[in-house]
């Protein structure tokens, strides 16, 4: 793999490395067809970050430069300690560096990073790498009931109220209010610490969808890298989450690059200490064994030969048919990627086992009682006051409904959506479309966005 970064993009690349250094000790380099992915995960597997630079970001991007034999480009991991110093002083980089070339040389087992600076100076850094499988977190953002989108400045303003040393923070959402407060674990410190709480109105967010009232506690420190990156590029940040215990994903995308940070959240129900326990893990950090690039043209990949198909199917692997493990954790990760693969999604839907009642009804406690009220039909409501069928549903007060799509009840393990709001007889917050970064609807049978009447 060989790539070249020009001008101010070098600084952006450096800032991405800084953000990743906040997460983990190692940096995974994954050259893909769709771009160069830089990933990091922390030792407890409770935080994962990925920065994907598309070929447009680079002046030159080649997976198989020159004489290198075509084959899978090497995936490797570097020690953060060796990469971070190269990009440590961003101000100097901005001033002095004209161009940066990164190449992976398999013969020498090194990653070569060359900075072409002013005054004809060239700095060459040879970093030894460890060959490794690619790192990929499995997290289905498109199944998250709660989605927020906010300008980076808003988030920056919010976290500014919390001290820089604040480790963990709790985000509580309800349809009328968003509350952030600091979180301290040890009982002994409780008497002495200062509690800070910030309360905002949903109107301040660019997009606000709350499917289920929830409060999640996650590590703020690991997120600060992404927030400062977003602020420096003035990009909006999308937050996808569900109830406590399920991971939360923060993502942003600018045309040439996308960034995602997935953090585990404290499981309120578990008596075990936070973040490090299994229930709140991100889910199997999935190593794609020899898989080629994550499918960009899904149909193409699905149709391809047997050799490749297996790893893809592994990627698509869904919840085991039995067992109480909620389906969401094992479904294919979308990584908030702008690439939408409708066929893939459809396959996923069709493969979804009938969820146990507790899986989708997410308002803890209250949900279980509301479900039993519904009786028959197999319909599962997201929260009262939904009735047993869309007709009986009395919740039309959802502020997000209107000219947007909505999704209605689940029946027989499949989610039925209206293809157009006028067909919809119920009301639920719309689903976030990763393609257009806007709400969308899906209907059974629509295989590409073009056929959908909402696009």
């Amino acid at each position: 793999m060989k790539c070249a970064i020009e001008g101010s993009n070098v600084k952006a690349f450096g800032k991405a490395v800084h953000a990743l250094s906040r997460i983990g000790e190692d940096l995974w380099l994954d050259p893909l067809e769709k771009g160069l992915a830089l990933r990091a995960v922390n030792s407890a597997h409770s935080a994962y970050a990925c920065f994907l630079f598309s070929p447009l970001f680079f002046q030159l991007y080649s997976l198989h430069p020159g004489t290198q034999s075509p084959g899978t480009p090497i995936k490797c991991k570097l020690a953060m300690k060796s990469v971070l110093p190269l990009f440590r002083c961003l101000a100097t980089i901005e001033r002095n560096v004209d161009r940066c070339e990164i190449s992976i040389s398999t013969e020498e087992s090194r990653v070569i990073c060359q900075f072409y600076c002013r005054h004809g100076i060239t700095k060459t850094h040879n970093l030894s790498y460890q060959e490794s499988e690619a790192l990929q977190a499995v997290f289905p953002t498109n199944l998250c009931p709660n989605v927020l989108k906010a300008q980076a400045k808003l988030l920056g303003d919010i976290v500014r109220h919390f001290p820089a040393s604040q480790e963990e923070i709790t985000l509580a959402v309800s349809p009328v209010r968003v509350i952030l407060k600091n979180y301290y674990e040890e009982e002994s410190d409780r008497a002495k610490v200062m509690y800070t709480e910030m309360s905002l109105h949903p109107d301040e967010f660019d997009y606000f969808q709350v499917g289920v009232d929830s409060h999640i506690t996650f590590c703020l420190k690991e997120l600060r890298g992404l927030l400062s990156f977003a602020e420096s590029h003035s990009l909006p940040v999308r937050v996808h989450f569900g109830s406590s215990g399920k991971p939360v994903s923060f993502s942003l995308d600018d045309m040439p690059l996308t960034a995602t940070v997935v953090l585990a959240t404290l499981d309120e129900d578990a008596s075990a200490p936070p973040s490090q326990t299994a229930p709140s893990q991100i889910g199997p950090v999935h190593r794609c064994v020899g898989a080629p690039s994550v499918p960009t043209s899904p149909r193409g990949t699905l149709e391809c030969g047997g050799g490749e198909k297996e790893p893809e199917e592994e990627n698509l692997h869904v919840a085991p048919q039995g067992g109480p493990v909620p389906g969401e954790e094992r479904v294919l990760s979308s990584q908030a990627s702008p690439v939408f693969s409708p066929a893939l999604y459809l396959r996923k839907l069709l493969e979804l086992p009938k969820p146990p009642p507790a899986a989708i009804v997410t308002a803890p406690g209250a949900a279980r009682s509301s479900h039993t009220q519904h009786g028959g039909r197999g319909g599962v409501c997201l929260a009262p006051p939904h009735g047993t069928s869309p007709d009986a549903c009395t919740d039309y007060a959802d502020r997000a409904h209107g000219d947007r799509a909505c999704l209605c009840h689940v029946q027989d393990g499949r989610q039925l959506y209206a293809s157009h709001p006028s067909y919809c007889q119920g009301s639920r917050a719309p689903v976030w479309c990763p393609v257009r970064a806007e709400p969308r609807c899906q209907s059974v049978g629509v295989t590409q966005p073009g056929m959908c009447q909402r696009h």
Partner: protein, 281 residues
């Protein structure tokens, strides 16, 4: 015990924040005394602080638009709280552009001073930031520790040179020695001296002026105008005091009790700050 107050004016808020920042730089913990007319930040001289004591008085009316207090009992209409001024400073730091700041005494998991700031926001509903600062209520029997200190019978009283200059000098001297001698006379001259085995450094200030304390003050006793009264103090205490000052005071003066204590007084329009540094042998 009840306490509720509200600050609306941005200027008052900024001023209050600066005062609290100054206090925060001087001490880790201090006592906040609330009375119907004033707020006092008090630090009583104890061995743990190295014997320094502090008294900062604010006139409540100049800062708060609303101020209601119900003290411990009708005859002792005061509340004494021990807290870390650093917490108030942090809470106020981000509330600088708030539409209003409410401070009140509450009981959450422990007695707290709650600061609620209404911040301007993009939507019609403003953002609310709440900070709960844990405090310790000081019982009445300990109040005598936190009374206003009496003016010591000083030998010389002199106006201080510009604090910035004094701070620069003391900062440099701190690198050379741990102890500093402050001496001054009634002719408006002041010296800061350090002495070590290798070097001695003296900075001379002239024409500072002596505050007229009136006939009953010690200055009326015949005293040689040129005679210096001096005190040897721990340089770090003086440096800490000077480093915390954020605003130029309208009046800054220093009373020296020969070989006993240095009493520094800073007066702003609505705030007065007194700082006592004891002598070291």
């Amino acid at each position: 015990m009840k306490f509720r107050s509200k600050m609306i004016d941005v200027g008052c808020l900024n001023h209050f924040t600066r005062v609290v920042n100054t206090i925060a730089k001087l001490n880790k913990t201090c006592v906040l005394r609330l009375t119907p007319d004033n707020l006092y930040f008090v630090l009583s001289g104890k061995v743990s602080n190295g014997g320094v004591s502090m008294w900062c008085e604010l006139l409540q009316v100049n800062f708060f638009d609303e101020y209601q207090i119900e003290g411990v009992s009708p005859d002792a209409n005061e509340i004494c709280l021990e807290l870390a001024p650093e917490n108030i400073s942090r809470a106020l730091k981000t509330a600088q552009n708030a539409k209003s700041v409410k401070i009140k005494l509450t009981k959450k998991h422990c007695p707290c001073l709650t600061l609620a700031a209404d911040l301007p926001s993009l939507s019609s509903v403003s953002r609310v930031v709440t900070h709960d600062i844990p405090v310790d209520v000081i019982p009445r029997r300990m109040w005598h520790d936190f009374k206003e200190p009496s003016m010591p019978d000083f030998d010389v009283s002199i106006y201080l040179p510009p604090l910035k200059i004094m701070k620069n000098v003391v900062d440099r001297m701190k690198n050379l020695s741990n102890y500093l001698v402050i001496e001054a006379n009634l002719s408006g001259e002041m010296n800061l001296k350090i002495e070590t085995d290798l070097v001695s450094v003296t900075t001379h200030f002239k024409d500072l002026g002596n505050p007229p304390w009136g006939d009953d003050a010690s200055q009326s006793r015949s005293r040689d105008m040129e005679a210096m009264a001096h005190t040897r103090v721990d340089i770090r205490k003086l440096q800490q005091f000077l480093a915390g000052q954020q605003v130029n005071p309208s009046k800054a003066m220093c009373n020296i009790v020969h070989k006993r204590i240095v009493h520094l007084i800073l007066l702003h329009e609505d705030v007065s700050l007194q700082y006592f540094i004891p002598a070291v042998a």
